[in-house]
């Protein structure tokens, strides 16, 4: 008699971070195979673009990744700007980088909180949300909303930043390293945490490359690939920062990379705030977005988002609507690699391993 048992995890499961279904086969408590089933959150965001004008589609791209709306906005705006041959003013680019880096910190903070909750620690969740709240309030003040910003426009940004707002950002950036060190004091050397993450969910460099895993997950496998450094977009080539790389390959390594990435984001924000305080200028190239017609052509923009490489492919046919929009998001590949890295592990560790990959379901299903 076979002892193999099939267990269905999700789609309504608090630890799958959305609506992911995992069909697992267990032998006792050991996982033999996993089959992820995605698509429960599919909203057809690529198809929606085809019957909307360029401007009408702009607020929708924020919804692809609700924790990193600025990244998707930037990728889409960058495509349109490239096809229009428009030069974005420098100040606008710096504001965009500032927003994206703060967004990266906020996104990693939420990941840290929920990952720790998956492992059973509840205090870090509250601390992470408390500190993330400061960033969200800053965004709310600047853009008008906490998550769905609609702030980047074709050719720049919608509003200029004020000195008062920049001072608030500086205040936060001064205080934030202390917060990170507090998280590290609670988490990094905690034996309960290390027992459940060290040497668990090993994602080797080869497997990561075969499955095209990108972002912090790949960098935790010892591959130094950061699109901000390797293919600098926006003004990243003028900024000084060190991408976080780690050779541990396990859940613990992925945790360390994200913590280090928050620190490097803090460095970038400091430099950008200094630039914005010293330099004035235009914030938009003043493109008339209503009735915008984009000349025939295609372009793909690459953005290093908080969950890996984000690509936006845009094909224009000369009319007022995009002919085709295609999104490549980091989380999708992180889900695909889960059957590989969670093979022959204990059932208890599955959620811990899955949590360490930082998967956001709307980004997977689009």
């Amino acid at each position: 008699m076979s002892n193999i048992m099939k267990i269905n995890i999700g789609p309504q499961h608090p630890s799958t971070h959305g609506v992911l279904r995992l069909i697992t086969e267990l032998d006792g408590e050991e996982i033999i195979s996993i089959e992820p089933v995605v698509g429960y959150l599919h909203r057809g965001l690529e198809k929606l673009a085809e019957n909307r004008s360029y401007l009408q589609y702009l607020p929708m791209v924020d919804r692809i990744d609700y924790l990193g709306g600025f990244f998707t906005s930037y990728a889409y705006c960058n495509c349109v700007e490239h096809l229009l041959n428009c030069v974005v003013p420098k100040r606008a680019e710096y504001i965009r980088v500032l927003c994206m880096e703060l967004n990266r910190i906020a996104s990693h903070l939420l990941w840290l909180g929920t990952f720790m909750l998956d492992l059973g620690a509840s205090s870090p969740l509250f601390y992470c949300f408390r500190d993330r709240e400061i960033i969200l309030s800053l965004f709310e003040e600047l853009t008008g909303q906490r998550m769905m910003y609609n702030y980047f426009v074709f050719g720049g940004v919608r509003f200029d930043v004020t000195n008062e707002w920049l001072n608030k950002v500086s205040d936060f950036i001064v205080k934030f390293p202390q917060c990170i060190s507090d998280y590290e004091k609670i988490i990094t050397k905690n034996p309960i945490f290390t027992d459940r993450t060290v040497n668990k969910g090993i994602l080797s460099k080869n497997v990561a490359l075969q499955y095209s895993v990108t972002g912090p997950n790949l960098r935790a496998s010892g591959m130094d690939l950061d699109f901000r450094k390797s293919n600098p977009y926006s003004v990243y080539d003028k900024l000084d920062f060190v991408p976080a790389v780690n050779h541990l390959c396990d859940s613990y390594g992925r945790y360390l990379v994200r913590i280090a990435e928050m620190k490097s984001s803090v460095d970038i924000v400091k430099q950008v705030v200094r630039y914005l305080k010293e330099n004035n200028g235009d914030i938009s190239a003043n493109i008339k977005a209503i009735n915008l017609k984009v000349q025939e052509g295609e372009y793909t923009s690459y953005v290093e988002s908080s969950r890996g490489l984000l690509c936006c492919y845009l094909r224009a046919d000369g009319s007022g609507k995009p002919y085709r929009v295609k999104w490549r998001t980091g989380s999708y590949y992180a889900v695909q690699v889960l059957p590989q890295i969670a093979k022959n592990v204990n059932y208890n560790d599955l959620i811990a391993i899955f949590g360490s990959l930082d998967v956001i379901m709307p980004e997977v299903d689009k």
Binding site: R52, S53, Y127, E140, I290
Partner: protein
């Protein structure tokens, strides 16, 4: 032995940090009694000013959710917005040439009837003259 000692030490350090945090200022609000401070640019419930509107229908054109409908008959403009479709993106406000739409700071949109979410306004209404 040293390993166990280190583990206990790190646990104690974590507990001390958590204990220190318990003396920090409270960050939550007792919501219905205490309202949050809403920033100036906040995008909440859309409001329409009939005396400013010229009926150019740009808001209808830029709305991603097709939530806005504007009908113009002679000087009489009828403005209809379905808040159950509206995604509060602010495209209508940002692109209105006469600033006739404003997304107000009203964020409490919950209701038990769908009809309450359909706002129908006419420029002839006394309230908006």
């Amino acid at each position: 032995m040293i390993k166990i000692f280190r583990k206990i030490l790190s646990l104690i350090q974590g507990h001390i940090t958590v204990f220190k945090h318990s003396f920090k200022k409270r960050v939550t609000l007792e919501y219905p009694e205490v309202k949050p401070v809403i920033p100036e640019r906040f995008r909440g419930k859309p409001d329409w000013y009939g005396n400013k509107c010229i009926g150019c229908k740009l808001c209808e054109k830029v709305c991603p959710a097709f939530a806005v409908t504007v009908d113009k008959l002679n000087d009489n403009i009828n403005f209809k917005i379905d808040l159950s479709k509206c995604i509060l993106c602010g495209n209508c406000m940002y692109n209105c040439p006469k600033s006739a739409i404003k997304l107000t700071s009203d964020f409490e949109l919950a209701t038990d009837l769908k009809e309450n979410l359909i706002v129908n306004k006419n420029s002839k209404d006394e309230l908006y003259e």
